[in-house]
């Protein structure tokens, strides 16, 4: 079992200026705890399920950047159709990581369907992703990440994690989060 905060810390240590989109719930707490100072972090305060679609849009708009999506099992189960859209467009710079702990951790640990019969790796393959794997140890996560960051994707990685919490809380202002993120991508907000 992987500790999600430890894996998030390791991930951001391997990055330079790659944009990272963290789903609502615990992925954004871990990302902020691990790397709150990074500009190129997008923290979602709601719109559960949308992380995968935001990542796809950004990956298509910015082929010059590897785009990392940190999603949860509960969140991706709410937007499984987005996997078929992402696989159909297949941007080689898209990296979709699922922290899969089989539960809705933030609402009290109620089980998700991945704790039962649902297998996200098979679902992603069925949607049309080819570079897909599941890891359940930190060593395997590091090895998979090394390949992901050096080879073209799109990648879909399921990391089986525990349900430890992280203390960090990102800023509450969505506009501040967006502005920092766009600054990290060197995009000006004003268009006219």
């Amino acid at each position: 079992m992987i500790n999600r905060l430890e894996a998030t810390r390791y991930l951001v240590q391997q990055l330079t200026d790659e944009p990272v989109i963290a789903s609502c719930g615990n992925p954004k707490f871990d990302l902020y705890t691990a790397a709150g100072e990074r500009e190129a972090n997008f923290y979602m305060w709601n719109s559960m399920g949308m992380a995968s679609s935001i990542g796809l849009g950004l990956a298509m708009a910015r082929p010059d950047k590897k785009v990392i999506v940190l999603d949860g099992d509960g969140a991706i189960l709410m937007n499984l159709n987005s996997l078929t859209t992402a696989a159909s467009k297949s941007p080689s710079n898209l990296v979709h990581i699922i922290w899969d702990n089989g539960q809705y951790q933030i609402t009290g640990g109620q089980p998700t369907h991945t704790s039962g019969k649902a297998d996200l790796e098979s679902i992603a393959r069925g949607a049309g992703f080819h570079k897909v794997s599941t890891v359940d140890t930190m060593a395997a996560f590091k090895e998979a990440l090394s390949q992901i960051l050096s080879e073209p994707g799109p990648w879909f990685l399921v990391a089986k994690t525990d349900s430890a919490g992280a203390p960090g809380r990102p800023p509450k202002s969505p506009v501040h989060i967006k502005n920092q993120f766009m600054k990290g991508l060197s995009v000006k907000g004003e268009r006219q």
């Binding site: 709601n46 995968s52 298509m60």
Partner: protein, 169 residues
């Protein structure tokens, strides 16, 4: 130019190069023109809500997009509009092809068709209706300016008075 050509032409003139859509017969007329032009990046969505996320990601990366869908699709977008596009201030146009008004044959499209303006009003999203070919340029250019100066989504409702209705008895 007819109305689909006008729409595509105004989008291009305003640097809006990405179209995410779930098709219907009306949206199909716009896509047929846009897909012939390599300027446009066209993405078929499996569900309309994905488009709100995709356009958010594109906007943050410096690319401008629109969402095209039928009135039924607005129902699938409500939470993503309310909890992503509006609070994070993501500007874009949504083209909504309206069912359930003039010439509708299908009772199962009536309720969403009639509800779209109320739903948009409840979320504070400005909306404008295209019902005459000669006002397409004016309304679209104005809506684009309003969306991008307020950093908010704006809806364009395509009325059957302009686009026609499905010829089914």
């Amino acid at each position: 130019m007819d109305w689909p050509e006008k729409i595509v032409s105004v989008l291009k003139a305003n640097d809006i190069c990405s179209i995410s859509f779930v098709p219907d017969a009306v949206i199909g007329k716009i896509l047929t023109i846009a897909e012939k032009d390599p300027y446009f990046h066209v993405t078929t969505l499996a569900r309309e809500e994905e488009g709100i996320g995709i356009i958010t990601g594109e906007y943050c990366g410096g690319r401008y997009g629109v969402l095209m869908m039928q009135s039924a699709g607005l129902g699938n977008c409500v939470n993503a509009l309310a909890s992503l596009a509006i609070p994070y201030q993501i500007p874009f146009l949504m083209f909504i092809s309206q069912r359930g008004e003039l010439g509708e044959f299908n009772a199962c499209h009536m309720v969403m068709g009639k509800a779209i303006r109320g739903i948009l009003d409840a979320m504070g999203i400005q909306h404008y209706t295209l019902d005459r070919e000669e006002s397409v340029d004016l309304i679209l250019n104005g809506a684009i300016k309003t969306a991008y100066s307020s950093d908010q989504p704006v809806a364009i409702i395509l009325s059957t008075a302009l686009v026609g209705w499905k010829d089914e008895k």
